[in-house]
Amino acid sequence: MAAAGSRMDLRRALADALVGGFVAAALAFPMLGFRLEDSSTGLSLGLRMGWVAAAAAVVFAGRLALTLLAGTRRPRSGPLERLGERFAGTRHWAGWAMIGLAAVLPFLPFADRNLVDKATMVLIYVMLGWGLNIVVGLAGLLDLGFVAFYAVGAYSYAILSETFGLSFWVCLPLAGLFAAGFGLALGFPVLRLRGDYLAIVTLGFGEIIRVILQNWVDVTNGPNGISGIDRPTLFGLSFSAMAPEGQPTFADFFGIDYSAEHRVTFLYFIILAMALLTNLFTLRIRRLPVGRAWEALREDEIACRSLGLNPTTVKLSAFATGAMFAGFAGSFFATRQGFISPESFTFIESAVILAIVVLGGMGSQIGVVLAALLLVGLPEWFRELQQYRMLAFGGAMVLIMLWRPSGLLASRSPTISLGAAK
């Protein structure tokens, strides 16, 4: 009986995989089967039907394997699922472990400059993810143009420091305020729009900001961007090899040899601190009336109105708060790179940040870290495979979503409980 059943299954799986293979062949036929070749006489076509066969074979094999595997175990309770659930139970502990690891990372024996650099990059995205989490995860406002505020923060710092010679530490809060201001200015007219309309308008806004950065040459230097942006100092100690007249460098002051790694490590700790502050802020504000109002708004706007909450104010506060953190992250990005141009602030950045939030499990702080590691950290490692990187990235977004539609860590813990309230 079981044997007969499995033979039936096998036959069905084979048929299914065959169909998949045929479809793949048909899909691949125009795009992979022919190659557009430039030549002096114009465009001509090259043939490479082998690729079509390969695509069909890969899909056939993959589909077959998938059906057979799916037959042997229930998809919802795979080992990874259980791991995820167990992990969710020990989240508190895991959070502290992560912070601890992050704090000692630069001093670990295997940590070279490269690793710290990459960790810095991941942390920028963690911070951006936490910022956007306020808007999307808590308040439920779909923002597809988050990168705009990141750009505002970066350019605010670059321009302020270039024009007025202000230091990073003075500009950082200003950049956050500017970004928040932009958030308010944009949010005020558009936050009345419902879900997806808001998405398209924020997307448009993100593009507008980029177009302006590209074309307002007098202020932003257009597509060439701004270079030579000031680096941050530690209480006035610079991290360059030679300090400008009369100022001590970090190496001089502590009497150690100059090393470029000092600055990398210093930047790493700045972003770590900034990210942790963002996290702390979110954890705190979730327990305050504003934070609860954000979540309530996500759950049911009409009920909110019936309880005396002004939806516009609630939305604006979430939007502006998220924007502020993007602004902070932006000015850090500017100071780390030393160079910014509109190139760095394309839609794909917004998409990545949103993906981090959604993949992480909306509203989950640790989920954001995991997703950032997965989406930003891993690809950084495969830089050698440059051209396939984005393909894999997009594919991963689809696959993770199919695997866990509500994100990696989707459970939510209440912000107050009767037991704890005493």
């Binding site: 009336p289 979540e295 309530a296 049911d300 009409i302 019936s306 309880l307 107050i416 009767l418």
Partner: protein, 283 residues
């Protein structure tokens, strides 16, 4: 007699060419339960949406006399101000809780206006000042009071969406009460409840009326609820008021019977309706 809590005067609400509510006037008193009944589509929910600001009526005046804040014209306030300023709270026909937040959180969100002020618009709260902590403790106490009232204390930390239907209804009433209303509007609170739950609801509502002295405005289909606890009944049909009075007066009104049972008066009442009408007199 003092001036009524709410005066509805010449209220008219049109959707396209359809008059959902047409030149309606009535009053609701403090410390009393006013029921609005009528067949489906009579305009009851539209009336509620006008009173609570979700719709803006084309014609008419809605005067609310707040015991401490004075007289307010509801049609001129945005919906959230009607709750936070005028003290009108409501529940919904299709329950609208915050399903993924805990029961307690639902009740705390309802106290947003008070807590927001206490948290210094978040600043004091972020800094963890004592003023906010005290306010939050008070809010929890109030929530606990209402949880006890609606017998949900045990479930305080559960997700609101996971509660059974009847409990969700009670939670929604408790949540509305946490806004400290002077007028509580209930849109079919007994819908979907079994007879036992329905009886408990009666106790809860009369309790609210007697202990808090606020006005209750009630839309209901369930005759046993309406006839049993209402002090005053307004009957709507096609957006117009066709009768008004005490439950006994309304029950005897031929226009009401016609509206509910159709024009052919010689047709005998369906047994369950007859029983309902009769039985509810003693409830």
């Amino acid at each position: 007699m003092t001036a009524p809590l709410l005066d509805v005067e010449h209220l008219t609400m049109r959707f396209g060419g359809l008059f959902a509510v047409n030149d309606l006037s009535f009053s609701a008193a403090r410390g009393a339960i006013t029921a609005v009944i009528g067949p489906n589509g009579a305009g009851k929910t539209t009336l509620f949406n006008c009173i609570t600001g979700f719709y803006k009526p084309q014609v008419g005046r809605l005067t609310l006399r707040h015991p401490s804040r004075g007289e307010m014209l509801l049609e001129r306030l945005p919906d959230h101000r009607i709750t936070s300023r005028a003290g009108v709270a409501r529940t919904f026909q299709n329950i609208r809780l915050f399903p993924r937040m805990s029961v307690l959180e639902n009740l705390i969100v309802a106290q947003h206006t008070v807590l927001m002020r206490a948290s210094g618009y978040s600043l004091a709260g972020l800094l963890g000042l004592a003023r906010y902590r005290d306010a939050e403790a008070a809010a929890v106490d109030k929530a606990r009071h209402w949880l006890d009232k609606v017998e949900l204390t045990r479930h305080a930390d559960d997700e609101a969406g996971s509660l059974p239907y009847g409990s969700q209804r009670r939670l929604e009433i408790a949540r509305a009460m946490c806004t400290d209303p002077v007028l509580l509007c209930l849109d079919e609170p007994a819908a979907g409840l079994n007879p036992r739950e329905s009886a408990e609801l009666n106790t809860l509502l009369t309790g609210i009326r007697d202990e808090h002295g606020i006005g209750l405005l009630l839309i209901e289909h369930d005759m046993s609820v309406v006839m049993g606890i209402s002090d005053h009944v307004v009957v709507l049909d096609y957006g117009r008021k066709i009768a008004e009075g005490t439950p006994a007066q309304v029950r005897a009104d031929p226009a009401v019977i016609r509206a509910y049972l159709g024009e052919e008066e010689d047709e005998p009442l369906p047994p369950e309706v007859a029983q309902d009408l009769k039985g509810s007199g003693h409830a």
